[in-house]
Symmetry: C4
Subunit: 200 residues, 4 copies
């Protein structure tokens, strides 16, 4: 069993999820105030769209990187990957909910941001599970160098810790959660999953 179809299915889910992010941008239409205000009032939707677009894009880049170096797929990996995708598919929902409530008063904005952080934490932990299963079971074409596991633990640990911080900060301010998520995205753009494709 090669990785081709696992990658094709994952690519499909990632592509649909990243595209569904745009559904939450829809304006209410005529009769709901000037369009320019409808758009400017919804800056949280545009900010959340951009951040989540890169979050899913980075998942794809790292998934690509890791699976391009795989030679063997087992049933456990298929299901760990499904758990990862289960969280990916929740991202458009969590993004839309956070964007809708970001400027809401009371506890709603905190709940919405914590939900967003929790979905990303779940995604991060399940990506870690996929990664360590692959590392620990000899599935790689080019064996990772000895320092890879150490670096990876550091990197995944850092990511997960930051998402935890994003959840905690949700109870201070929802906007902070979005900001921290954006910073994690920028971090992952420059620091990529080790053990992936060597040409990288």
């Amino acid at each position: 069993m090669t990785t081709a179809r696992l990658e094709a299915f994952s690519d499909g889910v990632l592509a649909v999820a990243i595209t569904l992010l745009s559904l939450s941008l829809a304006v209410s239409g005529p009769g709901h105030g000037p369009l320019i205000h409808q758009i400017s009032d919804r800056w949280p939707s545009f900010a959340a769209y951009t951040v989540s677009f890169f979050v899913i894009g980075i998942i794809w880049v790292n998934h690509h990187s890791l699976f391009g170096n795989l030679i063997r797929v087992d049933r456990t990996l298929l299901f760990l990957n499904l758990v990862l995708l289960l969280f990916v598919v929740l991202i458009p929902f969590a993004t839309a909910t956070m964007a809708t409530y970001l400027t809401a008063s009371g506890s709603d904005s905190h709940v919405a941001a914590a939900l967003y952080g929790a979905v990303l934490e779940g995604m991060s932990l399940s990506f870690g599970a996929v990664f360590f299963w692959v590392m620990g079971h000899d599935h790689l074409r080019d064996p990772a160098s000895p320092e890879v596991p150490r670096t990876a633990i550091l990197r995944f640990g850092l990511g997960s810790a930051f998402y935890l911080a994003a959840i905690a900060l949700a109870f201070v301010s929802a906007a902070l959660t979005l900001l921290v998520t954006a910073i994690i995205a920028v971090y992952y753009i420059f620091e990529h999953t080790p053990g992936g494709d060597p040409s990288d």
Copy 2:
């Protein structure tokens, strides 16, 4: 005619269907009560999302497993596969309907759960039809061992019988249908379609 494009199309449909499951999670937005209540009141949606996500995920894993071992595709198989996909595409609709009505009073919850069970029964029977057509028409790269048909009849029969039971239980309690479906999903995670990829 190789299986490549049949798999690509099926993967596409499965990936879109599994992602559309999340559309039913959308909350009503400000003005419909505290967000935390909106989310907790909709536990049926989250439970149904999780169960149906694994149901579709397992269909994909088993489809992958079976078609990875195919050498020949005929026109009948293309149409049997289309019937299977017709039921797969109904799963997000049936999931959303069941989740919406799970806690409704009167007969509505029973009807919604029976509909969900019926869609899964249709999916199970059409997957069985695909399987037995493939087995009976010499399409496999590695001929299945003699005991495969017996095991398969047992396994597909068991799955279909359980989905029938899920339909019957719908008239006792909609939640029971969801529970039985979850149990079938766990069963299929550990017991996979025989005759598939030998590396499995």
Copy 3:
């Protein structure tokens, strides 16, 4: 330029379009009468879903069949294929509109059914354009036998004529349009595009 990416893109569009058909099945939810009535009152949606699912499925099968035998793709073919996809993407919209208005009084049901027929006629004509472009420009791996063009003209002509009839019948009864479309689908299940994959 091989056909691989043209097929991948077409498969993606076909897979998304076929899955979006299910969006029109969504029930209104609690407060809109017993669920069993909501479902039974919407029989046109279920009938239209089934017919359109097979219409798109058959497009995919015939597309697959034709492109599996291609060796060369030119820019004109890319754009003819885009026109075909433009009509395919209209099918979920036309299906939902027809289903919503099938039992409406006045001229609305006729308009909705004529719209459905017109979209299918456009799809049929553009598939014919793709076919004859391929035939006339030496793109095939296995040259079609001399009788293929004659058979093809007959078959495409018949399909297009029947869809024209479906449009005309829309002004008698919308249900007749749906019935004729179902009959054309059954016809195409048994009679496939000539000149395709020889193993077929």
Copy 4:
């Protein structure tokens, strides 16, 4: 790292985005006036659908053309491509917004058309960035001939300048923006990205 999965993911996003364009065509249903008026009143939606369908289709054709000639993908290219896709995914949203407001009075139609033009300008600039990164970093299988960069600068420059003009014209008339976009689409159908697949 080959281009296969980058193309697969991009094809997926382009296929979903092009199909989501049709969501904005949905009519309001019975009780909102005769269907024939609902449809004729929404001519902007049908016009915008057609134009945007070809805009995305052309992006796909040119993307296909350029990436079919790539031998090497680096991390920067992955992220430049993500930025391109970020704008592509905004096209269905911008199309729906423009179509809804095209015939609105006051400044709303101008804002909506400027938004549409801005999304296409962003798409055009990021496609240019992808193109010049590829040209400047020796990623091509068949080195482009010396005149390619000059021609390309002219062509991309022309496209971006026309989209800028479309934004400016939005403040005269939203319909003009749509018209100019349609003209650019026709231009790109006949003039394709240089440096792509040589068989073209």
